[in-house]
Amino acid sequence: MDRALYIAMTGAKNNMMAQTSHSNNLANASTTGFRADWAQARAMPVYGEHYPTRAYSMTERPATDFNDGPLNETGNALDVAVAGDGFLSVLDAQGNEAYTRRGDLAVTPLGELINGAGQPVMGNGGPIVLPPYEKLDIGDDGTISIRPAGAGPNEMLVIDALKIVNPDLQNFEKGTDGLFRPREGDEVLEADPALRVVSGFVEGSNVNAVAELTNILAINRQYEMQIKMMKAADDVSQAAEQLLRLN
């Protein structure tokens, strides 16, 4: 069979994968703290003892978009958004430290601080546990102070501080659970005291819906062209078959 057919087929197949990646971004347009994934296609020439006439396409996710998302005011003292750079530190399902921008926090009956996805939030010395409180305040640098139940307004207690890290974004990638971890080197990052949070806000998704939709439409057309190429390859071999028919 003609090679053009297979090359067009990989093109169409990889277009569908890119389409999936963009539609995942769009589906998460309302997910708190979500970071959009990039998708790019790359030419993969076939190396060997022949002329490099065949270059297959390959879709890949080179990185994640680390631009800031919109800040939505909620007025809830337990909601925090990281202002500018930085990531909040949480524990993943295996109990290891991982990083997220998600700051819609809540308190369990045992006083543990968790985020909207149910992951325990890390403080300076491990997961944060809060005593019963009447009023809670999260400061600009992530310091959590509370007024214990029954205490007067002059008895604010500092409990812990949110662990906010400033990772090297070149070496930072999204895992299969949607949390971020360093790609290489030390798995646990140090807290950076220079980073800031704002309380009473949650950070929305940084998906640019217009860009994603435009990409989806562009990929759609590209895909149609690949199908046209497959059709052309089919026509060519049909013509050859007719020409060479014996009777």
Binding site: S21, S23, N25, A27, S30, E60, A117, G150, G175, L213
Partner: protein, 261 residues
């Protein structure tokens, strides 16, 4: 088939739930003691199609891989227990809690439920009941021929009757608090039930030990902000439209290949 189709479907479902939630909040914009809810979304797991760092040949490595997300999931809805505004009604049996805490209500099945709605009435026996007719717990019997009822900020209820001009105590309204009020289960009629996520109820005296004070003659309004809900509704609608556009695009792609090959 086409993965994008299923991914976009999860997006449509999520926006659908978000809109249902927004419309419920807006419908309850004037419900006494209503606490707004927000839908909590989470990205679904990612599938590794090609592992980053895998060998492309014996000597070369792929610089980046391909991980495809599978869409969005609604984790749940979360009640936002921020304080509503106080609406002064000057009715002696209207009460609002200023701060943390809930009134206890005895359900007809004998269970206790909790509410922030302090629209109380008297029933035929002179007992204090909610607007639905359920007894306040602990119940307070108002004597006959009562002229005035006064509720203190600490929940002590005193009455003055026609026969006797000296006020006397007829009961005490307790409030309860939870470690995680957002974990309470809303059962409608402005009532909540205790769950494993909310923690055990802690009974206390209003305005003491961190509990909110009772304000007589006031009602707590809903904490829904209409403007906020409207803006949420606009973004939800547009996100829904865009996700449905993905579904139709994915459909067109599959249709195109069927027609042309």
């Amino acid at each position: 088939m086409h993965k994008a189709l299923w991914v976009a479907k999860t997006g449509l479902e999520a926006q659908d739930i978000a809109l249902a939630n927004i419309s419920n909040n807006m419908a309850n914009a004037s419900t006494t003691g209503y606490k707004k809810e927000r839908a909590v979304f989470q990205d679904l797991i990612y599938q590794v199609q090609r592992q980053p760092g895998a060998q492309s040949t014996q000597n070369t490595q792929l610089p980046s891989g391909l991980q495809l997300g599978t869409g969005v999931r609604t984790v749940g809805t979360q009640k936002m227990f921020t304080q509503g505004d106080l609406n002064m009604t000057e009715q002696p049996l209207d009460m609002a809690i200023n701060g943390r805490g809930f009134f206890q209500v005895l359900m007809p099945d004998g269970n206790i439920s909790y509410t922030r709605d302090g629209t109380f009435h008297l029933n035929a026996n002179g007992e204090i009941v909610t607007a639905s007719g359920y007894l306040l717990e602990p119940n307070i019997q108002v004597p006959e021929q009562t002229k005035t009822i006064t509720v203190g900020t600490d929940g002590i209820v005193t009455a003055v009757t026609a026969n006797d001009n000296i006020p006397f105590e007829i009961g005490q309204i307790d409030v309860v608090d939870f470690v995680n009020p957002a974990g309470l289960q809303a059962i409608g009629s402005n009532l909540y039930l205790e769950t494993a996520a909310s923690g055990q109820p802690q009974v206390g005296v209003p305005s003491l030990d961190g509990f909110g004070a009772i304000i007589q003659g006031a009602l707590e309004t809903s904490n829904v902000t209409i403007v906020e809900e409207m803006v949420d509704m606009i973004s939800t609608q547009r996100a829904y439209e865009m996700n449905s556009k993905v579904v139709s695009t994915a459909d067109q792609m599959l249709g195109f290949i069927n027609q042309n090959l």
